[in-house]
């Protein structure tokens, strides 16, 4: 026990080491949850003890995609829907890299949907953080593949007539070995979950529900970020280990969050490594 107490700072100043300070403040709206998710990610990197120089951060197009421009890591802001195949190339080009894909619901699940299910199927070693704000924010608030039935967006002025994806179920069915869902109102759990996913080999996917006060929120009578945050608090329940089939989101229904899938399966690289020996045998014959 020391005589003179040591002041310890938590918060902004430790996060700053991972931010491009020459680009602060960021462009996200007041009340947008993406910044919170980025903060959780940065603290998760520290918690996981990863070497930041070996971390590659890949994003797509959209509000969430802008995160790549703010983190002080090797970061790649790629084209719409294509963060995952770009990340695949990085992962296979240098298997020593830690690969993180950080993007939005439209980028990963609509235009990027095909790449998502195949990347999960291959069990490529990467961590995907999907910010789900239920619409296409960057372009002004259009319908997305996670927009709840009946919700208003700029392209569903009479209410959405499509069912959204049950995202954890989609990922589990595709073969992801770690699937979790949190909201921005669960920052501590989210941080721990991301840290787990970062060190776990294989395809890890974390859906993060996030407020979009200016667009989705405003069009659906939740124009303050606080409205949606209270909504998450009121409606969410943590059920770790829940069956992904049972975590579908229904309007005004329970939001089930937690870690749903955490299994072991050989990664793509585990399997491909064996090819080198087999190729050599065949060549020598």
């Amino acid at each position: 026990m020391t005589d003179t107490p040591t002041p310890v700072t938590i918060g902004e100043t430790e996060i700053d080491a991972f931010l491009r300070l020459d680009r602060m403040p960021h462009i996200w709206c007041a009340g947008c949850g993406i910044g919170t998710a980025v903060g959780c990610f940065i603290r998760a990197v520290e918690r996981a003890g990863l070497e930041p120089d070996k971390l590659s951060f890949i994003s797509g197009i959209g509000c969430a995609g802008r995160a790549a421009g703010y983190v002080k890591l090797d970061s790649f802001h790629t084209t719409h829907g294509r963060a995952l195949p770009f990340a695949t190339g990085l992962a296979l080009g240098n298997p020593e890299l830690n690969i993180v894909v950080f993007s939005g619901d439209g980028d990963l699940l609509a235009i990027g949907g095909n790449h998502l299910i195949h990347s999960a199927r291959r069990n490529i070693d990467m961590t995907v953080i999907c910010i789900n704000n239920f619409n296409y924010g960057m372009t002004g608030g259009q319908l997305g593949p996670t927009t709840p039935l009946g919700a208003r967006t700029t392209t569903t002025p009479y209410g959405n007539t499509e069912y959204p994806f049950n995202v954890p179920c989609l990922l589990a069915a595709s073969g992801a070995t770690y699937v979790a869902r949190w909201t921005v109102m669960h920052p501590r759990e989210m941080e721990r979950s991301i840290a787990e996913a970062l060190v776990k080999p294989g395809f890890s996917f974390i859906e993060v529900l996030s407020p979009c006060p200016v667009l989705y929120g405003r069009l659906n009578k939740q124009s303050k970020g606080l409205d949606m945050m209270h909504d998450y608090l009121a409606r969410s329940v943590i059920r770790n280990g829940a069956d992904p089939k049972d975590v579908e989101m229904v309007p005004n229904g329970t939001i089930v969050v937690g870690k749903f899938i955490d299994i072991e399966r050989p990664t793509l690289w585990d399997c491909y490594k064996q090819v080198f020996d087999r190729a050599k045998e065949k060549k020598d014959k």
Binding site: M1, T2, P5, T6, P7, V8, T9, I10, G11, E12, T13, I15, D16, L19, M24, P25, H26, W28, C29, A30, G31, C32, G33, I34, G35, T36, G39, C40, R43, R47, V184, P187, R188, E191, K224, G225, L226, M229
Partner: protein, 95 residues
């Protein structure tokens, strides 16, 4: 605080002197920190930032527990806490 059973580690967990620092260039007045602080230590102020957002200010610093919820919730990375630890216990700051 009235307790009918006093925890053994009450002294460690008691409120430590904490300074709450709010970055006025970053705060966008979303109010998450104000709303979810378990001790209502923060409030929205009348002061506007250079970009026109209503800034958050400390209502009562003595109430701050140093729990850090405001720092992890803030989407702008605008809050930091300077906590005077009674021991070298950085790990207790990470819940």
């Amino acid at each position: 605080m009235k307790m009918w059973r006093v925890p053994f580690d009450l002294a460690e967990k008691a409120t430590r002197p904490t300074k709450v620092l709010i970055d006025k260039e970053r705060c966008k007045g979303c109010g998450y920190c104000v709303e979810f602080c378990p001790r209502a230590a923060l409030r929205t102020s009348d002061e506007l930032s250079s970009k026109g957002y209503s800034l958050v200010e400390v209502a009562d610093e003595s109430k701050c527990l140093g729990c850090g919820l405001c720092t992890v919730l803030c989407p702008e990375f605008a809050i930091s806490l300077e906590i005077v630890a009674t021991k070298d216990r950085e790990d207790i700051l990470r819940v």
